[in-house]
């Protein structure tokens, strides 16, 4: 029964897209309405509540002193986790992260890590002994599609507004976290041969394939991830990547510009 509905809904979406339209009236390259509220959790060193259409994600950043990895004794450590808690969707189940939660966390992590946005060398307290551990925790509250972009945006916004809690650990005055880039994730899907940016849940489930591109202030790309059981030609892939990089600039200007710790 629900499978029949799925098919009907999919046909409807395909027909719309073929006419150049989307279910919520957006242009193919448009994001849904986007709101980012930072410093919402006072217990966290940084936090951001992201609303992307009806998708809602809360990201919290905590910092604690801990041991460095043996092969990078002079660098801070960054750990990213994502919880798709069952409150956020009827399809999420309690339990440890499944492959979707793990993929989400790992792509968000790679975007920030590979961009070099965090200067991890500045997070060394005592070489080989003690460094700052950054925990980025993505908590999904309402899943209406494109968790990737909402989560990545919440992560970088949290980091940009986070303080290092030096005082609490007797290590001097609190300092802003050294953030030197602003990677932005943009996800595109292929529906009926067209590339659509920021899919909502219906679009996501109708799409044959998803492509996430995380790009930086200078237009360089730090991470990509294709998902879904379809594929794209090399040419279309290049087009999609370009659209994603373009779109990232807009989002950066609109939402991240000027963010800093209070």
């Amino acid at each position: 029964m629900s499978e029949v509905l799925d098919e009907i809904r999919k046909d409807y979406l395909f027909n719309l897209v073929r006419k150049g339209r989307r279910i919520d009236g957006r242009a193919f390259k448009d994001f849904r309405e986007l709101r980012v509220k930072t410093n919402v959790i006072s217990k966290a060193e940084g936090s951001a509540w992201v609303e992307l259409g009806q998708t809602e994600v809360l990201v919290g950043v905590k910092l604690q002193p801990g041991e460095p990895y043996p092969d990078t004794p002079d660098k801070g450590v960054m750990i990213t986790n994502a919880e798709l808690v069952p409150l956020a969707s009827p399809t999420f189940e309690p339990g440890p992260p499944d492959e979707n939660g793990i993929e989400l966390a790992r792509v968000v992590d790679r975007g920030i890590r590979e961009s070099g946005a965090i200067d991890l060398e500045k997070l060394c307290i005592e070489e080989g002994e003690k460094v700052w551990i950054i925990f980025i925790d993505v908590h999904v509250l309402n899943h209406d599609g494109n968790l990737m972009d909402a989560s990545a945006l919440g992560a970088i916004a949290s980091l940009m507004t986070a303080k290092i809690p030096c005082e609490r650990y007797g290590l001097g005055d609190d300092e802003p976290l050294p953030v030197r880039d602003s990677p932005v994730s943009v996800t595109a899907v292929d529906i009926a041969g067209e590339i659509l940016i920021d899919p909502n849940l219906y679009e996501e489930s109708a799409a044959s394939c998803r492509l996430t591109v995380i790009s930086n202030a200078d237009g360089s790309i730090s991470a990509m991830q294709k998902g879904g059981i379809g594929g794209l030609s090399p040419e279309k892939t290049k087009d999609a990547v370009k659209m994603c990089v373009e779109s990232a600039k807009e989002i950066r200007d609109k939402v991240l510009r000027g963010l800093k710790p209070t």
């Binding site: 217990k43 905590k62 604690q64 409150l87 309690p94 925990f135 509250l141």
Partner: protein, 244 residues
């Protein structure tokens, strides 16, 4: 649990300025999550919790179904960043116990007989914590159940009472809990005058317990009024906005 810190000032007020029988500021928003059948955001002082209700819905696996009533499930979960030291995700023993007693606090009002074989799932996420998250979660869940249209015999309201500096007070902060002598979370159904959650730890006399219980009952009644108000506002709003 005793301490040298003075928790009640010379003027009889507590460190945050409240009187002994005063609640922290409360904020209630109904229907905040779109995917859930019912939801509620609840703030109690610095505590921020959000509750969602899904159901009645199909219950898997089949052998977990009850042929005579809906099965109520409750999951209390703390976000990793909700506490001072980052919490490792996943249930610990404390949250398993809280989930159990919270379910037992709410189930008495749910008319489960209407939905044999179904599940009613209640999820509470603690976004920020400052003592009182289990009672905040029950308050939020009770409103979320109503928002989901689950038939209920009444709203459940909850609050903790405690003993600090030898005095029985309402609604402990984290600091008061840590240095205080007793903590007692209570939930009740105002409409039926029924206590559905009662836990206590500390050390009190019989008289102190009775006084504490009376104060908790009074606190629950006040919270009940706020819950009702939030629901009425939401539903009178929606009545003007849209014809159901």
């Amino acid at each position: 649990m005793s301490s040298e810190i003075k928790l009640i000032r010379e003027d009889g007020r507590r460190l945050d300025g409240r009187l002994p029988d005063e609640l922290r500021p409360i904020k209630i928003e109904v229907g905040v999550l779109k995917r859930a059948d019912g939801s509620c955001y609840f703030e109690l002082g610095k505590n921020k919790v959000i509750a969602a209700v899904y159901g009645p819905r199909e219950l898997h696996p089949r052998h977990a179904q009850d042929a005579r009533r809906a099965v109520v499930r409750f999951r209390y979960n703390m976000a990793p960043f909700s506490v001072e030291e980052r919490r490792r995700p996943g249930p610990d023993r404390r949250s398993v116990e809280i989930s159990k007693v919270s379910r037992e606090a709410l189930e008495p009002v749910i008319i489960t007989e209407y939905y044999p074989r179904a599940a009613i799932d209640i999820f509470v996420e603690v976004l920020e914590s400052d003592a009182g998250t289990r009672t905040a979660g029950i308050n939020a869940a009770s409103v979320a159940l109503a928002d989901a249209g689950i038939p209920m015999k009444g709203l459940v309201s909850a609050v903790a009472v405690g003993k600090i500096d030898g005095q029985i007070v309402l609604d402990l902060t984290s600091e008061e809990d840590q240095h205080g002598e007793m903590d007692m979370p209570v939930a009740m159904v105002t409409r039926t005058n029924t206590i559905t959650l009662l836990q206590m730890d500390g050390r009190v006399t019989m008289e102190e317990f009775e006084k504490a219980l009376d104060l908790a009952v009074a606190g629950c009644r006040r919270i009940y009024e706020l819950q009702r108000k939030a629901l009425i506002e939401k539903y009178s709003e929606s009545r003007t906005e849209e014809i159901p």
